[in-house]
Amino acid sequence: MHAVYLSLGNISKGERKAISNGAWILLAEIPSNGFGKTKFETKVKTKKMPGLLKHQRFHKCLAKVLEPLHTFQPSADRSCLYPAIDAEGYRRECFPVLMAWIADLEEQWDILGLAKNSCPKCRARHGQLDHACLCETRTGQQILGVLRQIGDKFPDASSFQFMREAKKEGLSGVEELCWEGLTVDMCRAICIDSLHTYHKMFGDHVMAWITHTIGEADLDAHFSAQPHRIGARNFSAGISHLSQLSGKEWRDMERHLAPVIAGHSNASPRVLKSIRGLLDFIFKALFPMHSDHTLAQMMQDHEVFRQNRTIFISNGSRDIDHMKIPKLHYLPHTKSNVEDLGTTDNFSTEPCESLHVTHCKNAYKATNRKAYRTQIIRYLV
């Protein structure tokens, strides 16, 4: 089951952060189960089709949810406005716009209809993910244009054939995307979320390299030797036994990391430089307020990391000899994202992850586990 939550950009980010403030509302619940009853003719289809069907279902359901927005197209007269009572009790004429969509990278590919290993913000394909400069900006119109071209070229194609053709163009193969026809450019509205883009990326990739470079036992010993610090988690038992860390714990680990590895015989100047560049970048990206200056500094830090990160390939920590990692490529897009939609703390998935506990996990526990979806809705009403 997917849950879709909604909040307003009018509400300040401080209010939106705490879920107890009621700034979020559950908008839709979309099934995510498999297609067990449907049989496919060939082996290839049996393997590929369920994934495509899931994407199609996701877009069809959301198209229905977003349908009311289509009646609000910008026009010169006031017909596109609807009246609403604001928080102070005044009547206002409002215009709804889907401004931002918070999701992790995997879901961003789904929403935009892109194949994996492409970038939601620019046109980089897998081969270009480690390039120094960013490619041409991707727009929603461009994605829709490519889909239309394929549709014109193969008017009678089945959805499986369509997917094969779309995959060649770097798309996922869904023909009708849920945001088609909305005024907003979806590639701008998709936002970088700090939890997955910075902290999970750090945990998935960089921590693995560091562990390999320094050695697990040494890293544990260095972490446990750190002086006790109030206000952040202390890793006095080392880190190798930890699993399933939260965003906050990754952040605390990032805080400790630079002094922990400094001075170790395996931590060459380039290792330290790249890690320092990355940590500086992450902490600057998390600033609650940015200016053109801090954004420029942030990009400089990223450049230091980018220039020195190949050390992890040459010292054998990363066994694949390239840095074409979507999550790493995504980092410098932070700048345009902040300029377009405000700082990254507007778009953390953390409040939404907490909403799952109250809206979905607790609700599921209250059911008898049979035909639970209707029961969950009844529980939430």
């Binding site: 009018n10 089709m49 009790g89 377009d340």
Partner: protein, 130 residues
């Protein structure tokens, strides 16, 4: 103490009836052409009703912003970003005539439209471990 309710059940019934709560749920079915035997049921609420519900919550009286702003540092050139309303997207979409602190550029002045907008953010679609 005299209470208007006698039992806990009575109290919850009153909360259900009299307290404001979110818009009603609807359900709909989607059938994919490639899986005709498996109609997919999903639940949703009217998106405009949801927006109105959040928009009118008196709790957010002091934290609501209805217009975009372009913020600059003291030098007047370095742009500052924090909330959504300082971003370029909102500023491009909505132009306010009564911008007090907002610096209007020439291009904005020409467009000169007044739209009171309510901006929407859509929440994430997250996987749930069920």
């Amino acid at each position: 103490m005299t209470l208007s309710f006698q039992t806990a059940k009575d109290m919850f019934a009153r909360i259900q009836q009299h307290m404001p709560h979110g818009p009603a749920w609807k359900s709909s079915t989607v059938t994919l052409p490639d899986a005709p035997n498996e109609p997919q049921i999903f639940f949703y609420r009217d998106i405009i009703e949801c927006v109105k519900f959040l928009f009118g919550n008196p709790k957010f009286r002091d934290s609501m912003v209805y217009e975009p702003y372009e913020l600059y540092e003291e030098d007047g050139k370095t742009r500052v970003y924090h909330e959504m309303y300082t971003g370029k997207c909102w500023n491009e979409l909505q132009v306010s005539c009564e911008g007090i602190d907002k610096r209007l550029t020439a291009a904005h002045m020409e467009r000169n439209c007044i739209v009171k907008a309510s901006r929407r953010r859509d929440g994430p679609i997250n996987h749930i471990g069920i």
